[in-house]
């Protein structure tokens, strides 16, 4: 069985270490916040200018002046700090954010990522994605392994306009966990019930299988 979105988020949450500052993108990445392991203290950064992002407000307590980068109403936590957008991307660029998790349309086996533009469709803009992928020191992509047509999103090279070049280190999909190495994607873990053959069939980019490949535990 391929992982659900929640399980992808749960698996990524295992990558969190105590003391990490983490930026979570829109979509599956946002769900990671729900699965932070016990005893692991992380601080969430929202690139519109908030460090220490808390949960959604209780009904009736929404504050129009307190939103995250997905424009959702959120709260602060004890120890939160608020700053302008230049400082926010400054701390990302300076490598102070330990981990960034974001979605993608395509990832190439050299770490390129495309996630902002589909030619001939209306372009809404890259928002902070290009800044994040160019500057973050450690990026995990959370996405489905294939697109709705069943085509691989793990490619020898991106077909869509790039968001960033050679910047992705790790990909977690519904089928497995992959590091990006000089030899392309390296499968470290596979989803329960998913075979290596299925992963091979659905991965167009260069793929190797780790010697100690194992089943994902979530």
């Amino acid at each position: 069985m391929a992982l659900t979105k929640e399980q992808i988020a749960k698996r990524i949450a295992q990558e969190l270490q105590d003391g990490f500052y983490v930026n979570l993108g829109i979509g599956i990445p946002t769900l990671v916040a729900n699965y932070i392991p016990e005893g692991v203290d992380v601080v969430l950064q929202s690139e519109n200018g908030l460090l220490g992002m808390g949960p959604f407000p209780y009904e009736g307590e929404e504050d129009a002046d307190m939103i995250n980068a997905g424009k959702q109403t959120v709260t602060t936590l004890p120890g939160s700090a608020i700053f302008d957008s230049a400082m926010s991307f400054g701390m990302i660029r300076a490598g102070k954010v330990d981990l960034t998790v974001l979605g993608a349309m395509e990832v190439a086996d050299n770490g390129d990522i495309a996630n902002w533009k589909i030619p001939k469709k209306l372009v809404k803009g890259m928002g902070g994605a290009m800044d994040l992928v160019a500057a973050a020191k450690n990026i995990i992509v959370a996405m489905q392994h294939t697109n709705p047509k069943g085509e691989s999103k793990l490619l020898p090279q991106c077909t869509l306009p790039l968001t960033g070049v050679g910047c992705i280190k790790k990909v977690v999909t519904d089928l497995g966990v992959f590091d990006i190495t000089p030899d392309g994607f390296k499968c470290l873990e596979y989803a329960p019930g998913v075979t290596i053959d299925e992963i091979k069939a659905k991965t167009l980019g260069r793929l190797t299988i780790a010697d100690n490949v194992k089943e994902i535990v979530v």
């Binding site: 209780y58 939103i67 957008s85 991307f89 809404k124 050679g166």
Partner: protein, 231 residues
């Protein structure tokens, strides 16, 4: 030194058609609602707007799009509205997409008197086309020019008669940067207070950057994406 004006109409009265204007705000959060209304009423057009977003159909910069006042948007994320899409497809509206952190930093650069900055975002992508690339200590950076703007318009939480501004929560976003970048900066505030009421240590934009300030009225502060949890 009198920076206080009566209201939005007076604050924007000398903005001509064809101007480049920065608007503070992220989505609908922290946008200068009063000045946008006054600009819509005034009916100037051919504007270049620098703003992270372009509002929604019936609020924010969307209202200016309705009136076909905008020639060009410089933004990181647009198109939350149908009018925008239609004007873009018909060629009435030009859009220059800029990575969000690059947008913020190019505003900051103007306020700090730096003509250009070296930034990472967009290296190897179409954003880099035509831009100078330079390697510093093993990493490639793009040379990105500071943003010039004739006017910058921001909404702050509190402001004093000297033009000092304090923002609340994430309504801060691009606003202090734009306030510092504008040749003429206009601030509308939810609470206009006498000089001396704000803690000098807690000011986000020193008054030297602000030319006009007024007490805003009737803030709607619309929420774009209301998310809550149950008690």
């Amino acid at each position: 030194m009198n920076k206080v004006v009566a209201g939005a109409d007076e604050a924007v009265k000398d903005i001509p058609s064809g101007s480049t204007i920065m608007f503070g705000g992220f989505g609908l959060c922290g946008i200068p609602e009063n000045c946008i209304s006054a600009i819509v009423k005034k009916g100037i057009n051919n504007l270049t707007c620098i703003s992270n977003n372009a509002g929604v159909d019936d609020f924010g910069i969307g209202l200016m799009l309705q009136g076909k006042q905008v020639k060009k948007m410089i933004s990181s994320y647009v198109g939350e509205n149908a009018i925008f899409e239609q004007q873009l497809l018909s060629g009435e509206l030009e859009v220059d997409l800029v990575p969000q952190g690059t947008l913020a930093t190019r505003c900051m650069a103007a306020g700090y008197g730096m003509p250009a900055v070296w930034l990472l975002a967009g290296i190897g992508t179409e954003v880099a086309e035509g831009k100078e690339v330079r390697n510093f200590k093993g990493k490639n950076y793009l040379l990105e020019e500071a943003f010039d703007s004739d006017f910058a318009i921001v909404k702050a939480w509190k402001g004093d008669t000297q033009g000092n501004l304090i923002f609340k929560g994430t309504a801060r976003n691009f606003s202090p940067l734009m306030a510092m970048a504008g040749k003429i900066t206009i601030a509308e505030v939810e609470h206009l207070v006498p000089a001396g009421e704000l803690d000098p240590n807690a000011i986000h934009v020193p008054g030297i950057y602000v030319k006009r300030i007024f007490q805003g009225v009737n803030y709607e502060k619309r929420i774009e994406n209301r998310t809550t949890r149950k008690k």
